[in-house]
Amino acid sequence: MSMQQPFEHTVTAHGPTVLRVVRAVLGPGPDADDAWAETFLAALRAWPDLPADTNVQAWLVRVAHRKAIDVTRGARRRAQPTDILPERPATTGLPDSAEPDLWAAVAALPERQRLSLAYHYLGGLRHTETAELIGGSPEAVRRAAADGIRALRRTYAPEGAPR
């Protein structure tokens, strides 16, 4: 039995989750937007053949992981070789992002903490699933995600929220 649900339901239900994940992985901006669109285009292509009992959110997060890698590779290919490393684009430059400080705090995390946190806390993957995506043991991924959350709480907390 394959998918018979109208695809629009999937975009409505999981669009926000996928956007949070790709923004945490790539930083909010055009690369994250590209990865979001590529994720849902890939999903649209595969949709009629997807088994009806698929965990759609987890499947989309895994597709988003691959698309984020593609976008990063594409960006590297496009980049001009230079001796000076380009400055990281300011994450505060996105006009519609209501939480520039939080994104800056996420961007400042070590990569494994950032990815473990993105796929587990934002994407809803189990640590074992995240480990399959980014390598390492599930236990190491669990620790990285927890360390990431602790670091975020130190550097950032929304006004009035308990630290």
Binding site: P6, L44, A98
Partner: protein
């Protein structure tokens, strides 16, 4: 949701604001149309009959639905019958929306749109194909339509064909009445049928 989680929910919403998602949805619509990935595009419009759902395949307009039918139910049925790659993508329906606006404003008396008749099969399909020959501002009885499609005995079948017209308003089943002049049924309800007949007589 308890107090401990409430701020998290609000924070999550701010990490993926609705305005950002609306822009990304438009990007998805554009790319999906360009790559020919959609089985069905749809949008809704406001009308004197309430909100209407318009759905199109690459062939043409395939479904017009009334609010009372339940848009989710209609979309689920389109996904089953025509394919699940169903996306809210208004661009393909701009022409249909404009012509319907003109019709409801009284400035258009006939529709000039590519139609996809995939949902009209057999005898019902014959009836649906015949209906546009009943001109704007005119009516016919179920019996007259049965005779016109070459099956004078099929009055009840014409009635059920009209009741299952997938393209109401555009394919004018509202112009078919009972032989005694009374209204007969209508997918959009008796009030919608009366509204359409009044609109056409007033023009």
């Amino acid at each position: 949701m308890n107090d401990t989680h409430a701020p998290d929910r609000a924070l999550l919403d701010q990490l993926a604001p609705a305005t950002d998602l609306a822009g990304l949805h438009r990007l998805l619509e554009l790319r999906a149309e360009q790559e020919g990935l959609l089985d069905v595009s749809y949008r809704t419009i406001d009308s004197p009959l309430g909100s209407l759902l318009l759905a199109a395949t690459p062939t043409g307009l395939v479904r017009v639905a009334f609010d009372r039918e339940g848009f989710d139910t209609v979309l689920a049925s389109l996904a089953t019958r025509l394919g699940p790659r169903v996306l809210r993508a208004p661009a393909r329906l701009d022409d249909a929306a404009r012509q319907l606006d003109e019709y409801f404003a009284g400035t258009r008396t006939a529709f000039d749109l590519p139609l996809d008749r995939a949902l009209s099969t057999g005898f019902r399909g014959q009836v649906h194909t015949y209906l546009p020959q009943i001109a704007y501002g005119h009516t016919a009885s179920y019996g007259q339509v049965a005779a016109a499609v070459g099956n004078p005995g099929a009055v009840r079948a014409v009635g059920s064909a009209c009741a299952t017209n997938p393209l109401p308003v555009v394919v004018p089943c509202h112009r078919v009445l009972r032989s005694d002049g009374s209204l007969g049924g209508y997918l959009g309800g008796a009030k919608a049928k009366t509204t359409l007949l009044a609109l056409e007589h007033a023009a």
